[in-house]
């Protein structure tokens, strides 16, 4: 109960920022750009991009210092609320983009689910990066999702030098959040769903660790 109250209180600090800052405008611009660029593309690709890119943008606002850490809350509750602050706007963008593309029926549910899966995973990753490295580092994640995350790793690994670098590149592309993987959520792939859930959990745990360190630094 206390945990939920803490999440709700933190959410109260994050939610208005979506509508009162430039984030709302940026999300609208992103949605418009994705719809324009993807007018002849598969709606699933647009939904995945809306979920992932929307989550990166929203995490840049949600993943920040908060005054609530000096009150009776927990870093985990703050991290969960900040993660929600990235997922919810990205989900709204995904739903709106899918509706705008005229997808309906059972296909609508599958496409939105894949987009939300991408949002859930990328929000976790983006939140951890924002708190660990700063919001500027999210630009790198955005580009990474747009380029390396768009296609399966075999397309890119061949470009890497043979040897250790190839292994590292293949591992990063295989393990990292990627649009090509979450595409399978629309087909009901439980492995892709689990991958997204694992990234969400990892992101929240890392973010809460960073917040805990800021909240109660060990004096050694």
């Amino acid at each position: 109960m206390h945990f939920l109250r803490c999440v709700l209180a933190e959410w109260g600090l994050i939610r208005p920022q979506v509508f009162r800052t430039r984030l709302g405008l940026w999300l609208l611009a992103l949605g418009a750009a994705l719809l324009w660029l993807g007018r002849s593309a598969d709606p699933l690709t647009v939904a995945l991009q809306a979920g992932a890119f929307g989550a990166v943008l929203a995490a840049s606002t949600a993943g920040t210092a908060t005054p609530s850490l000096f009150h009776p809350t927990t870093p985990l509750a703050v991290a969960v609320a900040q993660w929600l602050g990235a997922v919810v706007p990205a989900t709204i963008l995904t739903v709106l983009a899918t509706l705008a593309l005229g997808v309906s029926g059972q296909r609508f549910g599958a496409v939105v689910l894949a987009g939300v899966g991408a949002a859930v995973a990328v929000a976790g990753c983006a939140l951890a990066i924002a708190l660990l490295l700063g919001r500027t580092a999210l630009v790198a994640l955005f580009l990474c999702m747009a380029v390396a995350g768009a296609a399966p790793p075999e397309h890119f690994v061949a470009m890497a030098e043979p040897g250790g670098w190839r292994v590292i590149a293949a591992s990063a592309l295989e393990l990292g959040p990627a649009l090509w993987r979450y595409r399978d959520i629309a087909m009901g792939d439980a492995g892709a769903l689990a991958h997204a859930a694992a990234w969400a959990a990892l992101g929240i745990v890392v973010a809460s660790g960073v917040l805990r360190r800021a909240d109660a630094r060990a004096g050694e």
Partner: protein
């Protein structure tokens, strides 16, 4: 110090911290309603001391206790409020919205009343509907204080709350601090500039390199008198026990009368234009403690 702990609002006993700034065996205790200051140069460990008191920094040795419960525990978070040097509030939210969200963390049915009480205590009612992003520095400090007292906290820990403010803003923030203390809340406030605390704190802890090198009631620390001698021209060398100032020389009147000190000036053929006796300032107490500990 252990024996005193039960009746204290805040007790630090033999606190040791090695990073980010050292604290070496710091002990202090505050009673309810007391306003105490922590002064010292940059890097002396003031912020670390305050963070230990607020439960943000965990000491490697020693203990910090707030109203009988360990600092940093969940019950202690209801009891101790903290306002750091760089208080950050969501820019897009009004002050009232921010405080209302924070009040939810304290639970209880009367969260609106909790917010109104905190705004009233700190005189921040007029800022309630202003977005945090539009607040001036002094107003942001007032809101930092407001969130620190939110929820009926019994101890408030304030890091550099008055530093870098103009005299009017300082005075305007001192008033609510007095009101808060009158409610029985213990206030521990740190300042790099000791003059910020004069007329506010009842007790002072002078910190140097992680140790309390001087502590006492402010009136006791400031009772020493200084003889200022204004000269026509600066002396090549001051008389024994004097130090050269911008306008002449000065000496503490410890163990001698002003007449005896003046006679010493005349014996050194100094052209005295005027003299005055004043009380030692808190800044001088800090400097004495700093130089004396070398």
């Amino acid at each position: 110090m252990h024996a005193l702990a039960s009746n204290q609002a805040l007790t630090l006993v033999d606190v040791w911290v090695s990073s980010p700034r050292r604290l070496e065996g710091v002990s202090l205790a505050l009673v309810p309603g007391e306003v105490a200051g922590v002064v010292g140069p940059s890097g002396a460990g003031k912020s670390s001391l305050l963070e230990v008191a607020a439960g943000i920094l965990i000491p490697s040795r020693g203990s910090a206790v707030v109203c009988g419960v360990p600092a940093g525990s969940r019950p202690a978070r209801h009891l101790v409020g903290y306002a750091g040097r760089r208080a950050a509030f969501p820019a897009a939210l009004t002050v009232r919205e921010t405080l209302t969200s924070l009040a939810r963390l304290h639970g209880g049915p009367r969260q609106t009343a909790m917010v109104e009480r905190a705004l009233e205590l700190t005189g921040a009612g007029t800022l309630a509907d202003v977005r945090a992003g539009r607040l001036a520095v002094a107003d942001r400090r007032r809101i930092a204080l407001t969130q620190a007292v939110l929820g009926g906290r019994r101890v408030v820990v304030l890091d550099e709350l008055l530093s870098g403010l103009d005299p009017v803003a300082r005075r305007d923030l001192r008033h609510p601090l007095g009101r808060i203390a009158a409610e029985g809340v213990a206030v521990l406030i740190a300042a790099t500039d000791p003059s910020a605390l004069e007329g506010l704190v009842a007790r002072v802890f002078v910190l140097r390199e992680g140790r309390i090198v001087r502590a006492g009631v402010l009136s006791g620390l400031l009772r020493d008198r200084i003889l200022e001698v204004i000269l026509d021209r600066p002396p090549a060398e001051p008389p024994p026990g004097f130090r050269i100032t911008a306008s002449g020389v000065e000496t503490p009147l410890t163990g001698r009368t002003p007449e005896a000190a003046l006679a010493l000036c005349r014996a050194h053929r100094l052209a005295v234009r005027a003299t005055r006796v004043r009380l030692k300032s808190l800044e001088e107490v800090v400097l004495d403690a700093h130089d004396g500990a070398r």
